[in-house]
Symmetry: C2
């Protein structure tokens, strides 16, 4: 499985049984998605069959298939967000090439998890709760980025012509939609051109003046 998904393995027996059932469900759903099943075609029934668990066990762990897909995608989305956090807490003003490298790292994570990411965005489009969770995660990341931009404005490194929170939201949404679009429709040969375009353009949006 290329999802990179891991779950906590409890040491108590009851906790272990629970974790194992939960993990089997997660792995079955990931296998179906990686095998080409779209979120809209994924059913709880298919997951039950693949995992060999009962319906009542499923609902002990997940409210519905959208919640399941959200759990599957969150670790790798979190990993991509961490790459952004690391860059912002380093020396972001030094060069656009650092941002391009960070975007390239995100693309690598996204490609290793592209079916899960696609299913997560499909789930968000179909389910208001998942959409709210995704928007909440983006907004909390935007708040961190906005704080860094404010600090860089005080050092007169970042442009003072834009409000940090709007610039932060713009950068996050643009990075995410560009990467997802490229993973879905783009050509792998264009990886370098895409990450360079994204990294350089976004960098000059903050540090160009």
């Amino acid at each position: 499985m290329s999802s990179g998904y891991t779950v906590f393995d409890g040491s108590a027996t009851v906790a272990r049984r629970r974790t194992t059932t939960e993990q089997r469900i997660l792995e079955a759903a990931a296998a179906a998605l990686v095998g080409g099943t779209r979120f809209s075609d994924l059913t709880v029934e298919t997951v039950l069959e693949l995992a060999g668990v009962s319906r009542s066990s499923f609902y002990k762990f997940f409210a519905d298939k959208a919640a399941l897909v959200q759990r599957l995608a969150e670790p790798s989305i979190g990993e991509a967000a961490q790459a952004s956090t690391d860059w912002w807490h380093g020396t972001p003003a030094s060069s656009w090439r650092g941002l391009a490298a960070t975007v390239a790292r995100m693309l690598t994570i996204g490609r290793a998890n592209s079916d899960l990411w696609q299913a997560y965005f499909d789930a968000a489009a179909a389910d208001p709760d998942v959409d709210e969770a995704l928007r909440g995660a983006m907004e909390s990341h935007a708040e961190m980025v906005a704080q860094r931009i404010s600090a860089l404005q005080e050092e007169e490194l970042a442009t003072s012509e834009l409000q940090p929170i709007h610039l932060a939201r713009f950068m996050i949404r643009t990075t995410l939609t560009s990467l997802v679009d490229h993973l879905q429709h783009g050509d792998r040969d264009a990886d370098e051109a895409i990450t360079r375009t994204l990294g350089r353009s976004l960098w000059f949006g903050v540090f160009g003046h």
Copy 2:
């Protein structure tokens, strides 16, 4: 109707009858969408009832509801694309404020047609033919923009560190997804901050060095 949709009014009687039926179908669909019906809930039956036309008449003009929605949205999408074309053929290098003003103009067009735009993007997500048409329109606009960027590179005004076609696609996709996201989820009070952020950031991505 705020769709801004107009159709050619033929002068021959047969042409006029045809145009009138077609126009009634278009206006009925536009009214349903502007009245809050989502693309997924729009049915050909509803449109037939509202327009007072027969099923066979409908299929004389439109292959399906996706084709109908595409026809409804294209004029205003074309108007927004024209605002971009005008800016690129003016003096784009002079200031980021010109691009912010152009984005503001697109937002005004988008807001007057937001239900049609939303339905069009929903149709593209649901129907591969509409998706291909939308991508084709974006690609042909990108080719025009890339030509202008090439010319501006030769004048040493635009950055030479990026390939024009990748930069053009990035700008177009970013503008469209940002505006659609703002129309769907954003606050009208943020209009000025959004168009300023978008215009300034994208401008520095091309002209910053």
